[in-house]
Symmetry: D2
Subunit: 458 residues, 4 copies
């Protein structure tokens, strides 16, 4: 649907195209949902799908139409109070955990608003002076596409009926993974992944050498260089000093996580951060979110309902605490395994080092192209499948200044207590991420498609 | 709708008629709601409208069809887990505050279940052996009709848009209040009510004498006598000894409550029970639930959205703590005002005393006849408008025995910490209540149509 | 010590004597405590021993000395803020759960205040006009003696070291139990108790007939008659109508409770009130407070530290929820066992019925005479050993009016959500209780010496 | 006292001396406390003074005596359960917020244990193989000296009586500040501080130039170099790349904080981190901890009770959120003010840059030398007065490995969610800190002597 619409608008400029494609994709993602699926809110961290449809529209109406179209009248003056997320400069808003109380306006009314705003944006899309703000709006809406998918997954998970939002593919293969022939490659990739994270008995060092990309250390330039769009928190570009290290070529798999569990990973306090151990105890955590092991065997909840877990697929829906504990466990099994820093990850992604390792394509891998039951599958490259925890706290770069105005609240004010994740996930709109991208979450959160890629000192 | 259906089934026996009328009315009450209105849950005490539609169906399917129709197969074997309320003997169920996560099954699916069960019940309705259980089912469903209305009122109240479930009558007049000509009577009733609860300057005693019904005290028989249906907790019938007292002929009005507020009622610790004062402080309570005083004047939230408050209408949506504090305040203004006991109230309702005061008709007054914006209006009699707090704790009567089996969990297990309310409200299905009826809530709860009728020692 | 002091003041009037004996006993009870034992607070419901020493002194200083001695100057003007308990009319005070933060004033300073106030009271003790207030002060301080013991027991229980406040008697025999010769009687009492609450296989009805006291029902006068001191909530005296019933002659024993546990009492939802079952689940309750079963066998924590549990002694430290569940369990084993009402209990205690059963002496039984490791032992009569749960909610009697002034906050404002307990416990100052006495606690509370005596319909 | 003891033991080696001086100082700090002062616990973050006395003794007994003295028998086998803090490898322990329930053992018993362990340590102090562990033990006990002071300050603050642990100096002058003549310097320092943080009208840039120390940027070596004792988290030493910056020569003062408050700092969401603003709202924060402004004027609670606030003294008892908000506010007033990173701070402290700024003496400034009412006074240098927030998260350095064994739990497991503080405070034992020292707390905590020193980009 989204791509059809896209093709019929060939005369549009790229930014116009992306604007319309993004608006259409958001709607396509929500299309399978019932009115009430789209309304419920399962926890304070998550928002209803309808709220995402509305909030992304509020963003355009507020920061573009209201601010830049003379005489523009709000579609409904009461709605900003409902659909502002956290912009203090934009006034009061409903409590975050009251978003699930908004049975009105209806999905149809919100879609009407969407159509109105999308149409009204037409006059502004060609204005070069507004291009940066429109780019921000597209990126903002893409972020909410990912949240829409992870939030509705969490909401549907609450239902004992095991609701599937999308039909299950047969077999479940993401769009970022090559079709048909890839099946054989998938098996090869499995062998490689198995080599990278063998357990409980690790392979000899030599056997695993090929599955790490090494970096000799030294000064690296990180952060966004200002060409093309980036969020303010990705800059300024600056230099960092790296020690020699290596980054794993693949993500930790479900099979490796099974080994961690089988080895008592969730019962061994020595592996855990103190806060992490408290979290495990208090919440009786014993597996990644969405896992269950019942009569049907190893399953996990997906956007296609309960499905068998693929042992070769990357593990996902883990918290930082779990990622860190796994790394501690792995360190005791292999030499020096640990989480990477955000700069190490970025250096490998950029490929800017002496050994001339090629840069990774941020638009490759298993990422979001259209509506469907996205799920990590084990794709190549650093982008796609899962957001990858780093052990870097989400903090300002040297000489960082938040953007001016209300959009300055976008990133800077969240710089405490959170960790940086790099890459992109199966739910990230393809084209959204880049090497300098900094995603961030609190160490206990795990409803996103989070995973981990190990690093080690060399 | 409900009444139409009723009339077309003239051949039915009264119980069959009531069964079908009740089923139809439940559906009529939910009819104005959108799919998402019917799904959301605003607090642990309240349930979604869809859940009420389903739970009342679960009740018939479980205790009638499953238990009494050989070979009956459940409509969906997974649904009892979702729609059992609190019957431990019927197995596990979802957490009470997870009812709002059930976006599936849809309202249509639930209505399909309702139709199926209503139809399947056809064979059992004529079975005399099952009549008591069917009577219980009807009464059960009527209780959920009232909860459906009060719960959805609370849910819609969360929405800043001020959603109206029903159009506002013009003027708002309940079915229990006489039409047209009653307008004049309404004014007269107002004067009487004003006389009963004058404030801040009470009228002389003589002026108010006519507005109390006196009882000389002595031995009274209370509790259900076994004729016709009653809940187990209403019996056994037994004798109690009453001291001479009087019960007010009208409910406390909004105007009287305004006087209580104006006199600092919510700021004067001396008027409050200790727990009540803690509740006021912790929750910053300063008025009944649903009140607001803004530019538009004195308003309250109703099923027809925000509406002006009628000063002459009975105050409603108050907690026991507030009722008790008001009585303490009133006692300082009038001689000996206090809350009645459940037995005093029942004695007046029955009319069984020396002065031969006539019994009150439990089916009179402002009660629920059909779908609409029910609201207290100030009707005559002891039944209708508001449930009335007594100062009797909800406890077992002498020789009380819960019913056998799972339905024995209906009442007896709630006999701690709650207070008895008597009468009926504007949301109580007409015919549901009676003099022995014992409604019960915790002293802090106030999302029901609760009000108060004062008593005094004589 | 206390009694020595008492005897040397032979010239005193009885009220003066009781005043001084009470003051001395409070101090004797706290004497074994270290400075820090006396300072800590283990939960919001409990208060530090030092706080009890101080609060009881604040009471005398405030309501007697300040109000009735012209020119009296407070010992320390800052202390009322610390030691007022809940009298709103007496102004602000520290948060209830901040009492354990008062390392200052020291115990010595508080004892100094006590001595000062006790001495200053000398001039008022002979004033007949103040006698009622002084009686109230004595009763108030006696209540705090009991709380001091139960609160410090709870505090010492928190300490893994198993601190004993008093040396254990050998064997542990309360003062209310006859010495030496009583040992044989004790065994006899045991047999009787065993007959009263046999389990799991109850004895035939005939065998147990003698262990119940029957009452033919009818009109009984209850409540205090105004002669001698009583709390305001014990009156007015009024008539109630009783159905025929019987009250057990002994309290439920530890052995009976063991049978309840062995029969799955704590795992059977059907036995419990709904709130009680929630309490059991949430707090993982599986035995009375202070019980443990370890290598040493069946023990419980006492004021003499961890001690073996006597199977024949009355069970204590149970909540209303537990008492009610036990009664439900017992009802399934014996005919009609249940908790008594407060009026049934009082009627038996008074002995005012047709069969001329003698009244029970409120000053008999195992009650508090001096400092020591009080503990229920199985004494005769209705008073002593344990406070006994009734199924009566703590509510106002007909025509009840709270006392005037600040002392009017003593009882009336607690009349919601609590249950009445009758009798007296091993920690109740002998002479403090009477047939009309109404103790009250919330249904989940169990740190008092609470127990139960069954009743049944006849 | 401590120093007297120190001098009489001239024959000891430096490590022995420091061991004994440290043991003696801990006891001297607790000496003014009553038994109950030393027992109470005011919040989960804080521990009773007695617990600190005991825990530091447990540390020596466990990791030195038990592990290294053949046949050593624990002083009391039950006490490790009470006084282990968080070492999972050392077994279970009481809940953290139950430390305040330990009225036993008494202070005297704990002091007896201390004497026993101190004496028993005699044989081990000269063993070179144990020197690193003994150094760790000394450093550990010094940390608890600081916690003892900050924890008891918080506990005494709960008492409305305004308890003073130490007599107030007259005037209050810390040992790190020069006496008498310094009074004039103090005024000069005040002027300088006023210049550094003027408000609300900042001085011209030129006027403030002298009050910043500049650093040209480049590669700097940070972390401990392995000579002498350091905690594991201070290493390994490694290189970092710095951009040019400047660090303020003085700490932000109370006067500057007053200006921040006067300018609406606590009411302006734009200045705050999102989590910080939530913390301000939820806790109604409007000033640093321990501040009050009453009839007596501007006061704060100190170890000498309530005292006037010195406007020229460094502000203390602020959270990271407050420090960050102040920096945002200051940035709007001066060019580029912000918090420093831990590496910038360390680089200035080391003095290893092109401009040859001298290193700062970690043992200078206002630090803890003996028992007394420590308080920030505005001393020179980077060490002393207050711990200084950096905007660096507390994370592992490259190639960091926790120490082996139970002491490996000392630092590494806390590396999530906390921020690094540098320097030393008035409550830090002189000699304890160094340039590489990394203190760490959660961003909401502020019961330590925390302050801030601004940095800026140049």
């Amino acid at each position: 649907m989204a791509s059809t619409k896209l093709r019929t608008q060939a005369a549009q400029s790229p930014l116009e195209e992306r604007f319309h494609a993004t608006r259409a994709l958001t709607e396509a993602l929500a299309a399978p949902l019932s009115e009430s699926d789209a309304t419920i809110q399962s926890m304070e961290d998550a928002s209803p799908a309808k709220w995402h449809l509305a909030h992304t529209t509020w963003f355009w109406e507020t920061f573009l139409l209201r601010d830049h179209v003379p005489g523009y009248r709000l579609h409904d003056e009461r709605w900003p109070f409902l659909f502002n997320s956290y912009y203090e400069a934009e006034g009061d808003r409903i409590g975050r955990f009251s978003r699930g109380m908004l049975s009105r306006p209806s999905v149809d009314e919100v879609l009407g608003w969407r159509a109105h705003v999308t149409q009204a944006m037409g006059d502004l899309l060609g204005d070069p002076a507004l291009a940066p703000l429109i780019e921000l709006g597209v990126a903002h809406e893409q972020q909410h596409q990912e949240l829409l998918l992870t939030d509705i997954k969490h909401a549907l998970f609450q239902n004992p009926l095991g609701v599937a939002m999308f039909p299950a593919p047969s077999p479940l293969v993401g769009e970022g993974r090559a079709p048909s022939g890839a099946q054989g490659e998938g098996t090869a990739a499995h062998a490689a992944a198995g080599a990278a994270y063998p357990s409980p008995n690790p392979l000899p060092q030599g056997e695993r050498a090929r599955s790490w990309t090494e970096h000799p250390g030294g000064i690296a330039a990180v952060g966004h260089n200002g060409e093309g769009f980036a969020f303010d928190c990705e800059g300024p570009r600056h230099r960092v000093l790296l020690e020699p290290f290596a980054l794993a070529d693949s993500l930790v798999t479900n099979a490796a996580w099974d080994a961690f569990i089988a080895d008592g990973g969730y019962e061994n306090a020595a592996l855990w951060l103190s806060d992490g151990w408290g979290w495990v105890q208090e919440n009786a955590i014993s597996a990644p979110l969405y896992w269950r092991d019942e009569d049907n065997g190893a399953e996990h909840f997906t956007l296609a309902g309960w499905q068998p877990r693929d042992p070769d697929a990357p593990v996902t829906h883990i918290s930082y605490y779990e990622a860190d504990a796994f790394a501690s466990w792995a360190a005791a099994q292999w030499d020096k395994a640990r989480l990477p820093t955000e700069f190490e990850w970025e250096a490998i992604a950029r490929g800017q080092h002496a050994d001339e390792a090629p840069a990774h394509d941020p638009a490759a891998g298993n990422q979001l192209d259209g509506a469907g039951p996205v799920q990590p599958v084990g794709s190549d490259g650093l982008f796609g499948d899962c957001w990858q925890f780093t052990r870097s706290a989400y903090l300002p770069y040297p000489r960082f200044q938040p953007a001016e105005g209300a959009v300055g609240e976008y990133n800077g004010k969240f710089m405490s207590g959170q960790f940086v994740l790099k890459g992109a996930s199966c739910a990230t709109a393809r084209g959204h991420s880049r090497a300098s991208y900094r995603n961030f979450f609190y160490p206990h959160q795990r409803w996103q498609f989070t995973g981990l890629r190990l690093a080690k000192d060399i």
